[in-house]
Each structure stands twice: as C-alpha cells, then as structure tokens.
C-alpha cells in the first residue's frame, strides 16, 4: 500500500499530465510591488517615522523622550535585551529584567528587543529570531520597543526579504496587535502589544 506522500504526488501528476500546455512563470519588476510615494521625505528614516505613525505605531530617535513616554504610561517595569540594557542605565524610575521570567508575564509592562530592520514604505519592524533575545519579550508586554539601527532601514518589502538569510523565524510587525472582530470596531492590543514603538538610533 502506497504512503500518503506517494498517493498525493501520483494524484498531482495524473491531474497535470493531460494539460496540453502549462502556464509560464511571469517575470515581474520590483517596481510592481513598490507603493506610490505618499509624501516627500528627505530620508528613509523620515519615511519610516511617517508610515509607522500611519500604522498607529510610535517613533523615537533618542532614549530620553522614550523614557518619559514610558513613565507617562506608568510603564516602569519590563524586560530588556541584555545587549540593550545600557540604553536605560541611569534612567530613574524605570526598572527591568534582562532575563525573561515567564512567571512575570503579567508584570512586564514593556519589552525592549532588537529590531533587525525597518521597512520605510509601510512603517514595518522586522524581527529576526537570531537577533531577538526573547520572543515573549517582544510580544507579551503591553508596550514593545524595537531598537533599530538607522542603517538597517530599507525602502520596501523586497529589500527586507533579501535580508532573510537562513533565520528560522522572522516577523514583520506593522503597528500594534489589533482586531475588528467585534462589530468591525478596531481595538488595539489583543494578544500582543497595544503600543508598538520603534527606537531608531544612528
């Protein structure tokens, strides 16, 4: 008796054999999937900031106003990638763990992790597992802060895909977790962050 694999491949070939011709794969230019510009921007960073705001995200390019924002949100205890801990060193009123403790999942109100890239066209944050110190740190807290090097901002999705490499898990996050399941009314912060922040540093 043949296996399911053999049965499926055999059925596919039987289905395709009678076709007199087969559709060729079309060639397509990158410009086909690049959006019309939605404004004049003097840098990818400026475009990224604009599109992130359009996607209900928040943009910072220095630590001080971000720290003030966290305090204003009463988000003063969270998780931080150990490699990024120096950013909050000396900021009064904010404390964090550098090792993610699952038992504190409801206590961490912010999570700071490295963002592998930013996509200017859509305000998207790209997270590669190899760069992410803790998946839950980027997902479970109410506020997620992705720290992105300005040089890692790319213009569009095809450019981000070119950076995939062999990473086993990559995420594009465009704005906060959201749903419109209840009567089509948009609610942010369903399972993941209610506030998605990019901290872009040179």
């Amino acid at each position: 008796m043949s296996s399911d694999r053999e049965k499926i491949f055999s059925a596919i070939r039987a289905a395709l054999d009678p076709l007199p011709t087969r559709t060729e794969k079309p060639e397509w230019e990158e410009s086909l999937v690049v959006c019309k510009p939605s404004g004049q921007f003097d840098s990818l960073k400026a475009q990224f900031a604009d599109k992130l705001a359009f996607a209900s995200g928040r943009f910072y390019d220095s630590v001080e106003p971000l720290a003030e924002f966290l305090k204003a949100e009463q988000s003063t205890f969270g998780y931080c990638d150990p490699a990024l801990a120096h950013l909050l060193d000396g900021v009064e009123g904010i404390t964090f763990d550098t090792e993610y403790d699952e038992s504190k999942i409801n206590e961490y109100s912010f999570g700071i992790t490295k963002g592998s890239a930013g996509i200017a066209e859509s305000g998207t944050i790209m997270l590669k597992d190899g760069d992410t110190s803790a998946r839950l740190g980027a997902l479970a807290p109410w506020i997620h802060i992705a720290v992105i090097d300005e040089a890692d901002i790319v213009p569009h999705i095809p450019a981000a895909i070119e950076r995939f490499g062999d990473d086993p898990s990559i995420i594009f996050a465009t704005g906060p977790s959201k749903t419109a399941d209840v009567e089509g009314i948009l609610i942010e912060g369903v399972h993941g962050p209610g506030i998605q922040v990019a901290l872009v540093l040179s």
């Binding site: 596919i12 039987a14 465009t174 369903v190 993941g192």
Partner: protein, 463 residues
Amino acid sequence: MKTQQQIDRTARDLDPEVHDSNFMGAKLKSERRYATLHRDYDDPDKLRETAGLIKQHTLEHLDTYLAQAEASFQRNGATVHFAVDDDAVNAKVLSIMNENNAKSVVKSKSMLTEETHMLKYLEENGKEVVETDLGEFILQIDNDHPSHIVTPIVHKNRRGIAKSFEREGLGDYNDDPETITRRARKHLRQKYIDADVGLTGGNFVSAESGRVVLVTNEGNARFCMAANKIHIAVIGIEKLVPTDRDLGLFLNLIGRSGTGQQLTVYNQFIAGPKSKDQPHGPEQTHIIFVDNRRTEVLASDCREILRCIRCGACLNVCPIYRQSGGHAYRSVYPGPVGAVLSPLLAGNRFPELADLPKASSLCGACNEVCPVNIPIPDLLLRLRDKAKREGAKVAMKGTPNLAMWATLCSQPTMWKTALSMGHTMNYIPTELVPHPSAKSWQGARKLPKFQGGEFRKWFKNRK
C-alpha cells in the same frame, strides 16, 4: 415570489440583526479595500494578474514545487508529513501529540482544520484545544462555526458576545468591545503559556526556502509558537509559491484585499525550529501537507479556484453573500469562492452542494476584486453545467423548464422565424401564458416592448 433554493430561504428567514451585521460588515471592508489598492498603485490590476499567473504556474507545476518545499523544510530541521484526507491529517496531529505526551493545544486560525473537524476530533481523544483568534474563541465557546473567512463572527453583535462571556464566567455582562477584548487577552494568555502544542495553518509556503508564512492581525499565531515546544502547521498543498521574492507580491495583496490594510500587522515567516541559543520558540516543527480532494480539484476544469489566498474580498463584494451571510452556504468556505470550492471539495457529495453555484448574480464583482484574478463567474457556470449534467436535484429546485427555449435557440430556422414574428409579442398578454418558465420570469419583471426583427432584412440588402 416563492423561493425554493435553500440559500434564498435562508436569506429570507434571516434574523434582521444578523442580516444587518453581515451586510454592514461585508460592505465596509469592500469599500476600504478599493480605496487602499487604488491609492497605493498606478496599475493594481497588473498586480492582480501577475499574482494570478504565479499561482496558476505553481499549481501547474505542483509536483515539482511540493518536492522542492519538502526538501527545503527538511534542510531547515522541520519534519514534513503528508496527509491524503481528513482522517489522515487528524490522526497525524494526534499521533504527534501522543508521541510527545502532549495534552493541550493552542490553535491559530486554520480553515483546513475546519474542513477536517479537527477540534472535535482532538477533544474526543482527550486533548484540550483552545482557539486563540478572538473571533474563533467566541465561536468555540458558542459551539458555532465561522461565517466569513477573515472575520469569522461577522454575523454576531456585541450583545450576543457579552452574554456568551457572562455565561462562560469571563466577567459580568459588558458589551463594550474593548472590555470584551481585554477579557479575552487575560484569559488566553495563560492558555498560551500552559499549552504543549501550537497548531496553525499557513497562508503561503515558499518552496525555495521552506518557509510557512502566517498572516494575522492579533499576533495569536506568534504567541502559539513562543511559549510551547511543538509547532504543527496544517497546510493545503495549494498554498505554495515558488520563491521568497514572490511573497512580496502576495503579502502586499492579501492585506489590502482582506481588510484594506497596507500590510497585515503580523507577517510571520517560519522555516523550522528555533535556533539553539534562543530561549523561546518550538523545538520541533511539523509541516503537514494536506490533499483532502485538492488533487481532484486540480484535475477538474475549475483548477483556477486553487489560486485562492483566502482574503475574503469576493465575499465582501458579493450581493448574495451580503444578503444571506456565510452560514447560508452550509460549508467551510462561504461566498463566491465557497460556491466554487465547497461543492468541488465535497467529492461524491457534490449533489448536496450543487445549488451553491446558483447563488450568484454573475455580476462579476468577485472576479474584479480577486487579488489572484480567479474567473469565479466562469467557474460558477462550469459547475452549474456539471450539476445539470449530473441531474443534481438541489440545483434544479425552483428552476423553470427551459427545454422549449433551448430548442428554439439551437435551431437557426426556427430562431429566424421567431424573430421575424417577434412583433406579435407586443399584442399577446404574455403574463397570462400558462408556461411555468414565463410565469416565473414575469412574476418579478415586465417584458419590454419588442423592437427587433428587422436587422437581418436590413443587413441582407447591404452591399
């Protein structure tokens, strides 16, 4: 007018509140989708046509791409399985769980597992299964099923949901959507942490690199594979695309076509188990490629329907879906795509669903919005023909006998004579003609004054 088709009766008897929820939910999304695609691209139709050709190419070389995807996943450290039908895929998931002594599953939306009734199967075999998409979670506690591909509870309003939450002990009655969402967030959070397995579907698969692409707005699929050790992805064999580069095309289309977003909030690309030095993520990744009659669809003259990327755009724009709602389609896939796909996937149960291809005005709107350019109206006609040839009774209900008309149309001499005598129609009280087809047609329409019959005479005398 007497309605005999099942979908007409369902639409007629629909609770007005449910009708309004369906209608408004579908209409809003359709308008947003138009605005987004046309705002962002000079030639959105070129995008749709290219995406359609890529999917058609992939389907017509499916054996090659499926073998390539299998090899790519194996190279990434994932385990690849194949399941020929619903029993096989259910048994495979159960066996992976039993081999790992896993007791509980958190599930992110997968239409294919709806096809196989996997949730019920796993529960009957002693496993705890929790739906994590907010809409699917509400359906689960209500013992209901989806009525839309993207917004599964489009048929429910906040009052009904609040009552369900109260009944399930998720707080006192409160119909504020934000409160409902927060309560679900709190409840499901612990379920993610406690579960042994994360079970998902897959929107796309890149054959080149062996990546499952998952598209969600809530982030539930990401959560399903953050805290637990096993990820199982149940994927239809038609979800393949050739390369990672092609994904750029489809991700741009699915967000805009589904909900009017430029991109869906979370687009995940999963190649295999987590890296060794990462604290979170599954240690095992199982990819189950499922046939479940897709190869029969591939062999049919309706294979274009397998291009579908499940964005729901055709549902939102369809005048029939808007009036009747998804449950009227009596199957997993509603709306125009469901009217084609469901009878085909039903196999030898085709006659039971053969009326669905008639649930269309053939207005062409579904084809116009489809991001992969599926000629849905053509496919509906092919299936109507199939139903007629196979004598499917459910498709014939309420249909007047048009044999006389067919004879007239297929005999050139009779047709020409009839046309030349057409003017007599203006003096006959046609509403009194006792033939059922004439009565049925004129029950809701008035015959216009006949003005033709002169063209052939005029044309004959032309030099």
